[in-house]
């Protein structure tokens, strides 16, 4: 397939496939700042005047040095942290707290250790009042999708890191959030598991087309997965650059690794991040 569109909106290519209506804003971040009280009367500006719009169905990654406020930004969208300034909106409505329209996936997995794998996946659906039988059917289907068929009765303690993160992803997908908020979800995993999970995530995203906000430390991961990469800088945390990743989908890792455009994106973005370090 050589029909490579040169439009900057990589996302548009998928439109004929899914027949979606023109992209509309899913998340709007409007002059958001976050100040944390540190010891004594001091305070630390973790985020400074962030403005960002994320379109419905887009896969957007956030990159930047640690401490630049990536997690904080994600938590604000999740409603777990209230910004000290500005507003964050989802589907045009100001975010006042967490809600099932935004599903988090954390690096620490945060599974419920007293529930087995199936119980974890069913948890959110049961909270939303879904009937047990229905939740179980859907739960089993999701577990199959993330490659955990046969592990339904295992407890989180009995799983490897990669398996735990699969459960966490299934648990979040289970209540069908419009937005996935992923904070370095593969950061604690070995390279092999990480690649597998990246591919699985892309497959899931291809079929479900959720809006994904994905924090990572890996430039390669960001370029591989995303429509858009947001590069942040530190002190104060702010958006340095937004790079549209204009690579065809569905993406195949083996092809991309040989693709000069893929390599150039990585080199360019790494340079941007390094530039930031010079100012320290």
């Amino acid at each position: 397939m050589q029909v490579v569109s040169l439009r900057s909106d990589a996302h548009a290519e998928s439109e004929p496939l899914s027949g979606r209506k023109p992209a509309s804003a899913m998340i709007e971040i409007d002059h958001v700042s976050q100040r944390f009280q540190t010891s004594g009367k001091q305070s630390h500006l973790a985020l400074s005047d962030i403005n960002l719009t994320i379109e419905d169905g887009a896969f957007v990654s956030i990159l930047g040095p640690s401490g630049c406020g990536k997690s904080t930004l994600l938590y604000i969208v999740g409603g777990f942290v209230q910004p000290t300034d500005g507003v964050a909106k989802v589907k045009g409505k100001a975010i006042t707290g967490p809600g099932p329209d935004r599903g988090p996936v954390f690096q620490e997995f945060a599974l419920f250790p007293w529930k087995n794998v199936l119980g974890n996946v069913m948890y959110g659906m049961r909270q939303q009042g879904m009937k047990k039988a229905e939740a179980e059917t859907r739960g089993r289907k999701l577990l199959e999708m993330v490659g955990l068929k046969g592990y339904e009765n295992f407890y989180p303690k009995e799983l490897s890191g990669g398996m735990k993160q699969r459960v966490a992803i299934a648990r979040t997908l289970a209540y069908d959030p419009a937005v996935l908020l992923m904070d370095e979800p593969f950061g604690a995993l070995d390279a092999h598991t990480r690649t597998r999970l990246q591919n699985d995530l892309l497959d899931i995203w291809d079929t479900q087309r959720k809006t994904v906000l994905f924090v990572t430390h890996s430039v390669e991961e960001a370029v591989y997965l995303s429509d858009k990469v947001i590069v942040m800088s530190r002190s104060p945390g702010s958006i340095k650059e937004i790079v549209d990743i204009d690579l065809p989908r569905p993406r195949k890792r083996a092809d991309l690794l040989l693709d000069a455009r893929f390599q150039k994106y990585i080199v360019d973005i790494e340079k941007m991040i390094d530039d930031g370090k010079d100012h320290l």
């Binding site: 909270q127 295992f154 979040t172």
Partner: protein, 260 residues
């Protein structure tokens, strides 16, 4: 089970037998009236348990202990969990606990008796006080240690704060809470006996001291054996319950960890 496994499970039994042997020999050697032999004491057990009055007294003790324990659990777990999650609650109760903690609860018994008489209420209250603190402490620690991201995950599923308390903080803190309850159970037994020694009216502690007054030393030692056995049985039964409730927090050891 391997020979080693059998030995391991039987080791408490060996310890018991060893202790009884030492007792038997020591008492034969010393040969004083106030130190009956182990065999004499064991022989006195059936006559205590066979006596309807004594048996009712002991059951009465257990009843008070159970009531005190259940009340303490019902009070201490919610309080400890709230202290662990809400700073203001912790700020209010922590200093109070620091003051109450080192006071031997049995020392409060005379005052409580003065106000509430020598009946059940005083004894149950003392048991309640003795048991509550360790359970509050452990529930507090367990609740404080609950991973915030776990609560966030719950919030994203649409769970309200009280719901998260009940359905996330409580189960997540359960291993720690049950550790507190185990300490509480043993403390309940101790406080129960102590309260009956002070408010001499009924109960196992009363039988013990009455027989001491009447110089029935074999009964005294038999009662000590009975109370000790009660402690061991309660503790073992609770441990069994505890393990069945928190199996999820122990890894399954016969499980291969390989993946795909």
């Amino acid at each position: 089970m391997t020979v080693r496994g059998v030995l391991k499970t039987l080791s408490p039994l060996f310890a018991c037998i060893g202790l009884l042997c030492v007792w038997q020999i020591a008492s034969l050697r010393l040969d004083t009236e106030s130190f009956p032999t182990a065999l004499e004491s064991i022989k006195a057990i059936p006559s205590i348990l066979g006596d309807k009055g004594s048996l009712l007294n002991i059951l009465d003790s257990i009843r008070r202990m159970a009531i005190g324990l259940v009340l303490a659990v019902m009070f201490a777990i919610p309080l400890g969990l709230l202290m662990g999650r809400i700073k203001a609650v912790a700020a209010f109760f922590n200093p109070l606990m620091m003051i109450i903690y080192p006071v031997p609860k049995a020392a409060l018994m005379p005052i409580i008796m003065l106000w509430m008489g020598v009946g059940d209420v005083s004894k149950i209250l003392v048991i309640f006080l003795g048991v509550s603190l360790p359970i509050i402490y452990h529930a507090f620690q367990g609740s404080k240690a609950v991973e915030e991201k776990m609560l966030w995950s719950g919030a994203a599923m649409g769970m309200s704060a009280p719901m998260r308390m009940l359905r996330i903080v409580l189960p997540a803190a359960l291993p720690e809470i049950l550790t507190g309850c185990r300490t509480g159970l043993v403390l309940a037994l101790i406080t129960m006996i102590t309260s009956e020694m002070i408010a001499r009216q009924s109960g196992a502690g009363n039988i013990l001291f009455n027989s001491l007054d009447m110089a029935q030393y074999d009964t005294v030692f038999a009662m000590i054996l009975i109370i000790g056995a009660m402690g061991i049985i309660f503790d073992a039964a609770f441990e069994k319950l505890r393990l069945s409730l928190v199996r999820w927090s122990q890894p399954r050891d016969d499980m291969p960890l390989s993946f795909t």
